[in-house]
């Protein structure tokens, strides 16, 4: 998986052209990962709160 897109300038030197679009799914799945981790943390903390007799919003 590439991190950057490359091209060449008029002298043939390699230059950066932008971000590799291979990273687009990475950004998407990173967002999904945050959501999943939060959902798990939320479920665990709500269960422990409920087991202590607390009210869950």
């Amino acid at each position: 998986m590439d991190i950057l897109r490359y091209g060449h300038d008029t002298y043939g030197e390699r230059i950066v052209n932008g971000v590799s679009w291979d990273l687009l799914p990475v950004a998407f799945w990173a967002g999904v990962a945050v959501i999943v981790v939060h959902l798990v943390w939320r479920a665990v903390s709500r269960r422990s709160h409920r087991s202590r007799g607390g009210e869950v919003r």
Partner: protein
Amino acid sequence: MSAAGDDRQVRHAGIDRAFHWTTAITMAVLMVTSLLPILGIRFAWYGIHWVAGLVLTLLILLHVVRALIWQRPRAMVLSAADFRAGGAGKYTLAQKLMHLAWAVTILVAVVTGLFLIRKAGVPFLERDPYVRSLAGWGVLTLLHDLAALASVFLILVHVYFGILPEKRAYLKAMLTGFIRRSDLSVEHDLSRVDRGE
């Protein structure tokens, strides 16, 4: 500023709600016009993209002016009290961090986008890719691309937290302008809220 008969108070003025939802629509247009071609769906995206980009630029300028002159910018600044449970001011720590992330991402996207307009051209500004070296355009494009990737991540996280049942009072406030103090009291120090912190 409670509404009569209940414990509701104004959280977002109409102009701020209009800013939020107009920005959301503009961001959606920008993301669709930039990412669909990358995903293989070809269409004349550039015309829609630069117009939406200029709309976003205008919205951000208006927001910055309004925030600095008519609002309390310190309500969005991180403070030690934000890290205390139930100690948040008008905005929680998570909301301040989300705002900071969006501010950095959108500012990078807008500033680099304004430069890139010169490379691609628009009806009122002739295309001139020679004002900058290819390496210079590459760096600007790199930063613009990074802002796009960050936006994909932030949209997912922002929408998720916006629709969580326990955070729905905030979503409702962004729609109606009002929030109940009883909803605020869960995570907020009401005295800080009243002081505009």
